[in-house]
Subunit: 466 residues, 3 copies
């Protein structure tokens, strides 16, 4: 139902014909520009090993919690979809299940991307229906078996200039080293993601920190802990990392004195931190992460405001990232103030703030980024990474902060094949927004052209120090 035999070349562009013509011209300028992907979740291993992708179900359903989520809501069990350790489901059957429920994805971002991937990447030229499901499956399976559909070949075909992965601080980055020597047409670099080492309430925190200390030969003191984190950041920097990423429920920062920090660290390490202690420790560590970013130059990205693993039963049976992470009301102004008071005016500090509470765009993020040289408004993230949401984001942010205080697009995806679709969506959505401003006499065409170019080039290069 959802599928289009041929994709509309003007898809996502505004309805009004004159505005659409302007948007089309803007889009064409940037449609084929190289992809800068400064924040993704593609595993480096995928490109390092360069093995053929698995079957269509594995690729498009099983591993994509954006997709399994909606099927689950419809009543399809995650076990039936092959999620989790019990994977017994037959791939072709999973694919048929997707086809049978294809209407659920109409109008969603996931549905749009899937359609793009089928049509633009995998050359599927018929609509996905229950009737066509097997043919489409076979068609995709055939393509995936070909050398030109292996990860590295697609990396080149997609025109990726930079791809940042997201990695555990103790990752040895073997795959990244291998890729650096592999002669890819673009860079694949790691991102330092220390959340689990900073949150005393994370399961296994003491053991994890012990491993960190052991790996870096650091003392079991707060100073040793900081040194260990600095050591691993340096390792990441040596391997080409340009950013450190921080997922937090609340964007809170705090500055503790040395004695108090040491005390909290010992409580945390004992595994006895209560809620308030854990919260304060995290807040202090967010500020420490900012300090390290000021010192080592890694761009600091903060992804705030998601309640993870809302359904305990699902988490226990299928693990994390299984579709039940839900945004919370979020505010940055007071919580980030200690951090910004300390480092907000530092000249080479870049702090990119991502939100899934869109009320913060006009209320907080645009005003903060419109003053602090360090602060950038992160591109619409996760549930907000979709055409209408991007339009709302630009409308909410631009009148206060313009275009140049935003981060440029990030795809934030585990789904390698969706990278071009996501960047293309953003380029179309931004072209649509710019075209409206032109048509409303708020921008000249030449200014809009310059901005369209910058949004896919100088703007992300600067925000992420590419």
């Amino acid at each position: 139902m959802l599928g289009l035999q041929r994709r509309d070349p003007d898809r996502l562009l505004p309805a009004d014909p004159e505005t659409r013509a302007v948007a089309r011209d803007l889009y064409r300028r940037v449609a084929d520009r190289p992809i800068l992907s400064p924040h993704s979740h593609v595993p480096a291993e995928l490109l390092a090993q360069d093995e053929p992708f698995g079957n269509p179900a594995e690729l498009f359903v099983v591993r994509d919690h954006y997709v399994t989520r909606l099927l689950h809501a419809e009543g399809v069990g995650l076990d039936v979809l092959g999620v989790g350790s019990e994977r017994s489901a037959e791939p072709r059957e999973i694919w048929r299940t997707l086809a049978r429920h294809w209407h659920l994805f109409a109008g969603t971002a996931s549905g749009y991307w899937l359609q793009e991937e089928l049509s633009e990447v995998l050359e599927v030229d018929e609509q996905l229906t229950e009737e066509s499901a097997d043919r489409v499956y076979d068609h995709i399976a055939d393509r995936l078996a070909r050398p030109e559909f292996r990860p590295r070949a697609l990396f080149e075909r997609f025109g990726i200039e930079v791809l940042a992965t997201t990695d555990d601080p103790l990752d040895d980055l073997t795959h990244h080293r291998a890729l650096a020597e592999a002669g890819l047409p673009g860079r694949v670099v790691p991102t330092f993601r220390p959340d689990a080492y900073l949150d005393p309430s994370a399961p296994g925190f003491p053991e994890r920190v012990e491993r960190l200390l052991a790996a870096t030969g650091s003392a079991a003191t707060f100073a040793g802990y900081l040194a260990a984190l600095e050591d691993r950041r340096a390792y990441f920097v040596d391997h080409g990392a340009f950013s450190a990423d921080h997922g937090v429920v609340e964007p809170l920062s705090a500055e503790l004195d040395a004695v108090e920090a040491e005390r909290l660290f010992r409580v945390a390490l004992s595994g006895d931190a209560d809620t308030d202690t854990a919260r304060l420790f995290r807040a202090h560590m967010l500020l420490q992460m900012a300090r390290m970013s000021v010192e080592d130059g890694l761009v600091m990205t903060v992804h705030a405001g998601v309640f993870r693993n809302h359904s305990t039963a699902t988490f226990q049976r299928y693990g994390a990232d299984t579709g039940h992470d839900v945004p919370l009301p979020t505010t940055f102004v007071e919580g980030l103030r200690p951090l910004l008071e300390r480092y907000g005016l530092e000249p080479d500090f870049n702090l990119v703030l991502f939100t899934v509470d869109e009320t913060t765009f006009s209320r907080e993020l645009a005003p903060l980024a419109g003053f602090y040289p360090s602060v950038y408004v992160g591109a619409p993230w996760w549930f907000l990474d979709a055409p209408d949401s991007i339009a709302r984001f630009r409308s909410a942010v631009t009148e206060t902060a313009g275009f140049y205080r935003t981060s440029g697009f990030i795809d934030d995806t585990r789904a390698f094949l969706s990278i071009p679709a996501r960047h293309d969506t953003a380029r179309r959505a931004d072209s649509a927004f710019l075209a409206r401003l032109v048509r409303e006499g708020r921008l000249t065409v030449s200014t809009a052209e310059q901005i369209a170019d910058d949004l896919v080039d100088s703007i992300p290069r600067r925000a992420f120090k590419l």
Copy 2:
């Protein structure tokens, strides 16, 4: 001023001509489909007795707090409008007052519906002005006196297939029984609405619970209280009810052990519950209501986040539902978690969440409904039941949850004559939204057609188990 001599057949459809053409085709498919009204506040008595409607002022002003509200804001006293027990106002004078202030309603949902009712139902073919007020009054009075304008005749003319009323748990449902035997072309069924029996801070709570226990012959224990509620729910189920409705200020749930629940119940019954006790008791009872819904199959609807009776002076003089209920900031994610942890994955449990804080649509409700098979995003409710608000709702929800995790339209109205206007508004607004997605290449026409059909048929039938 506001009135249109002839209604624009393309009203509420998008401006762009090509998009409008698509929207018009979609709208025409569904314009005359039967009305499913799974959540209204029309009294069953109205249809059971089938008496002529009162005068135009009574019908369109006195009983409609959406209307008296704005006149009151303009400085017209509620007494002058005939509200409350002191009703001395002359109906024709009230009608003239409305006509004199007709401009206040320009652009409002209330004004739009009134205009629709005058024009489409009552065949008024001139604009309401001070000059025309008396003629329009007489015209309406003439129509109301005719047999074809009695409630049952209109019920048939409106094409209502299902109409759910909202009823007190101790209601004997006489009128519903009478209607079941009356041979109406559609069903009129009750809805179980137990708020006043679940909230220890509601005036008269102990006496009300005593009546409940007496009526069901239950013991004055927490177990007896639960049994009494279950008993009354069963009575409602026997009379065709398919849902139980819950109005709460905060959408909070909690699970207490039996001893604690018993203790709180006794405190509540003594009339001594403090704020925290009342809050915890309500939270536990919301979870109990979910349990009962799982057991007896009644769809659970939650209407959250309204501060009722903001003006005490007005409440004391004129009673509840007199226009000063105001929405509050609302969040569902943490408060509903205990309930969803317990029952969110139950296969036949339907939980429809309504909000008047539209920030929750993209942030919370779409993500929750996009995972939990039990959760549906309720249609835009109350202040949000209006064309622009519906457009914002669809934009906020669809990219994350699609169309099939929403509830379908409900009219939520006491104003019987406004039912077709409200459903028509939703059908037009949804057609407008779908047409934009078509024009932007995001949906094929045939997919949009299927969704348009489903939005007035299979989607509400499923969410409300019709």
Copy 3:
């Protein structure tokens, strides 16, 4: 880049040609109507002294924190921009800095207004670029030196009928007296702004209150303090003031008994008020201000929800109003309730509520203003005073509260030359909104015309008692 050699006459009007035609007609009706500016921050001194404006940099950059803000975010130090006491920067160099960074302002409200001022007021007919910067500077400097570009001449040219300034309660209003006798074609009146006298946590509060008591010969008791405030309000009323303005972080009100109020006052006067005491005192004083407004007739305006001086280092070096004020999540319903319970139904009390948290528009402000005769929804303020934001405001408010419960436009500006640009923007944005409703069959053209007229005339006259 941003500049338009000739301004598009249809700027800010909707893209769809038919809708644009309607909007254009509506806009033309009101484009040249007198300007009512019931809330601005223009200093009376400017008009009283009527001296030529300083250089272009002083006029458009140094004194406008909307502009320095974005340059600062780009990394340009405020010292380089001549802000603060250290002003050593050369004006022409500041101007070149603006020109070099002109792209930052593309799409922003500030950029739009600047362009309007250059083009419409100062007759600049080329785009501002690095290359043209010096020529444009010289052109502006030449204009500013001419008598027809002095403040009073522009006051007349702009067609200002009323201009309210914002003044300290102890201001002697000399300039206003002088202006009253100067034979200007419009009124210039003061606004009573007592924030610093009502907040015990404001630096210097005890000394300031001492000065207030001394100036009015009042006793150092709470009763004396209230009498002193009443005395100064009367003085303002005598000088033509029609409103009293209140900037608060939280819109909280509270009613204390006399003993408790006296006690808090003494603590506040001792300089020892802790956070809770200060908060409660402010809340009580907001309610007292409402009482005084009921008694003396001054319209009460509340500007809520801004965290002032977020960057302490910047505040200490450059002072307040230097670009780092950031909105906070705001809610009015419970906090303003004590005030509204006491005075909300008073017949001649006008309370205009301004917000920079746009979530409150549909959730709280429209419902409150749609019931309380005293409450008006303030025009989009500060970060929300921009074309897209105005469209969102109208969409969020109108369906619940219509047009007649809003305040009419205020410019809220220190930048005298931007006054016509800001009013013109609002007129265009409102015409665009009305035209859409016409095109969607929701308003007749004649109703839209009446509303367009009222929005620049009877609506602000009523809300502000002009």
